[in-house]
Symmetry: C2
Subunit: 347 residues, 2 copies
DNA sequence: TGCATTTGTGTAAGCGCTTTCAGCACGCAA
DNA sequence: TTGCGTGCTGAAAGCGCTTACACAAATGCA
């Protein structure tokens, strides 16, 4: 990768300006000249240095993405949606994982220096730093957090879906609930879900924290919870925690949904395959990433300069883990769902 | 991000060379001068442009990674291990997913132009392109593929582990086997596993392809397979396919391991939580990524310039999906395991 | 005190591109 | 013939840094 535009120019017997024009198609170049240039490029196997181009153009043609960890399908799916669209827009994606890192601020600032803008998951970057980045003019898009001045935010709807889910469970006749995977950060997705279910169930639901939103942590927390005076239904912060809860129930010899109802959130692939199949709320993870990439592109190209806060719709996916339903009766949308998530029976 | 070193120099009343030296600690700078510079840097909130630095230094301080998809824990874990070490070495990570992409060659070449070296999973890059990259002097490390001249390769041991697994299954007395998730590419990990088990089981095992290495595909293929004259044991290409097979068995009312033994590969988190818990071969996924990052660093810094082919050891993890074992008898290593994977009973 | 080192700083030459600007040659209408 | 585009090309000025080199000032030592 060290043949430069000068060597091409020399070989083609033209100036570097002409080589550049011929290659990018900017400005007029005589057909004969272009051929000479392309021939030289071919022979020398020339690829323009990305650094030279970026420095001259004043843009990186790269986006960053900051996430806490890549554990589980959620981050992965969003990331894939993001990368796909970014590639389509001619941008590379630079990743940064913050979990367990020291000097996160420096890492994020360094990242900011090598991209035109970045996607940040939830609260993966500390608020003061975010403010500084905004002040410096870094283009930012946040996923899964509360709106924030000066930057775009994109998230899936949580509150209404959570209320719908809670009402569905209440419709089963349950009276004692637990919310497993209590929010560790206010303003993030899980926090909204918690507020949503609590708005419906009030004092009938208690919050139980898990260390992380993983199967293991869900398992541990659920086991502990179920050994005490156990709830009739566990609403989990996400599907992974819910899978952990299912395992804990099985280990304790509890039948789901007979002895205990369990619900998740996200509708990851494993939710459908779980036994029993998991009632959950589907959020469009890949689309979240894709939209974020497009939003970022708009900010970078300057098509738009005022922040926008987008909320994607979700679907309540009723399967068997929340309790027995009449075998084939199509469930009508409850009033609470209007304008919110559409309920959906899984085949 | 648009205050330059010139403005800092002006404000501090020194030359840009001095600013650079003060900031990087190269060359002598009087304490008083340094303070002036640092003060100016602080006041202007200066961060050196990554592009300027890279262009001058002649290095990107970034590594690439090319994978087909990010589906499932395997790629994710390797990626995390890689990113962690790369960050530790002061390098960013630029990702590129190839699945479903057109013009993959261009994407990879573009990536090559913005990094100092890259990690490529299996056969995610076509061989002719790889040859060209090697010729161009791009530093490359491959994960999970057969050794290849001119580049490092790192993989987990497959053949011996596969033989050990096959012998373990044979020890259960099974006589009719299927290998689910037949290799689509010769030379990759799954291919080695298939060769390994076949070396032991010979004609007693038949290969069954799946479209991809996912739970869904494993489920579909297993269902089809189990409806015919079914084998007594299914050796799966990886854990995800195996989880699909478990689900298919359940759906068909087959007891695992009573009616059918199933094994996986990788030991992803879900393997331990599956019902029944999955017998599998553990491979050090994060370490694979971490080692790749270090190997790449060696190639880039020039500490080493001859390719190296590394094979990490694996562990046979015997759980319940392969058949009943005496409750607490520690399983001795079979002779076939010497030098190969260490067997391990999971609590 | 004189001379050889250090030490500290600035100048300027890159690094590999893009793009403005000026200039040249040509064709065509006046 | 003059004048005026028009099409094509090259020189050169950046883009934001690092660093070799030159040089002045400060220091060490006899």
């Amino acid at each position: 990768m060290d043949v430069t535009i000068y060597e091409v120019a020399k070989r083609a017997g033209v100036s570097i300006a002409t080589v550049s024009r011929a290659l990018r198609g900017t400005g007029p170049v005589a057909a004969k000249t272009r051929d000479k240039v392309l021939k030289a490029v071919e022979e020398l196997n020339f690829t323009p240095s990305r650094l030279g181009v970026s420095l001259a153009e004043g843009r990186h043609a790269a986006n960053g993405v900051v996430f806490p960890d890549l554990a589980g399908p959620y981050y992965t799916q969003v990331l894939l949606g993001y990368e796909e669209v970014a590639a389509e827009l001619g941008r590379s994606v630079v990743i940064l994982s913050t979990k367990g890192r020291t000097r996160v601020n420096d890492l994020i600032k360094d990242l900011a220096g090598r991209v035109d803008g970045m996607l940040i998951f939830g609260h993966a970057a500390p608020d003061p730093l975010v403010a500084e980045l905004v002040r410096l003019g870094v283009r930012l898009v946040f996923v899964s957090r509360d709106p924030l001045p000066g930057a775009d935010t994109i998230r899936s709807e949580n509150a209404a879906s959570a209320r719908a889910l809670a009402e569905h469970l209440a419709g089963h006749g349950y009276e004692r609930f637990a919310f497993l995977g209590a929010p560790l950060t206010s303003g993030d997705d899980v926090d909204e879900r918690w507020r949503g279910v609590r708005a419906v169930l009030g004092g009938a639901i208690e919050a139980v924290a898990t260390r992380e939103y993983t199967v293991d942590c869900g398992f541990d927390a659920a086991k502990k919870l179920l050994k005490g005076k156990r709830p009739e239904a566990i609403v989990c912060s996400d599907d992974e925690v819910a899978l952990g809860a299912l395992l804990a129930a099985e280990e304790l010899g509890l039948d789901v949904p007979g002895d205990l109802a369990v619900t998740g959130w996200d509708d990851i692939m494993a939710a459908r395959h779980a036994r029993p199949a998991l009632t959950t709320v589907r959020q469009p993870m890949r689309e979240l990433g894709a939209r974020a990439a497009r939003a970022l592109d708009e900010l970078i190209t300057g098509v738009r300069d005022t922040p926008r806060h987008l909320v994607l719709t979700t679907e309540l996916v009723v399967r068997s883990s929340c309790g027995a339903h009449p075998p084939s009766a199509e469930r009508p949308a409850s009033p609470a769902l209007s304008g919110g998530p559409r309920p959906l029976r899984d085949p």
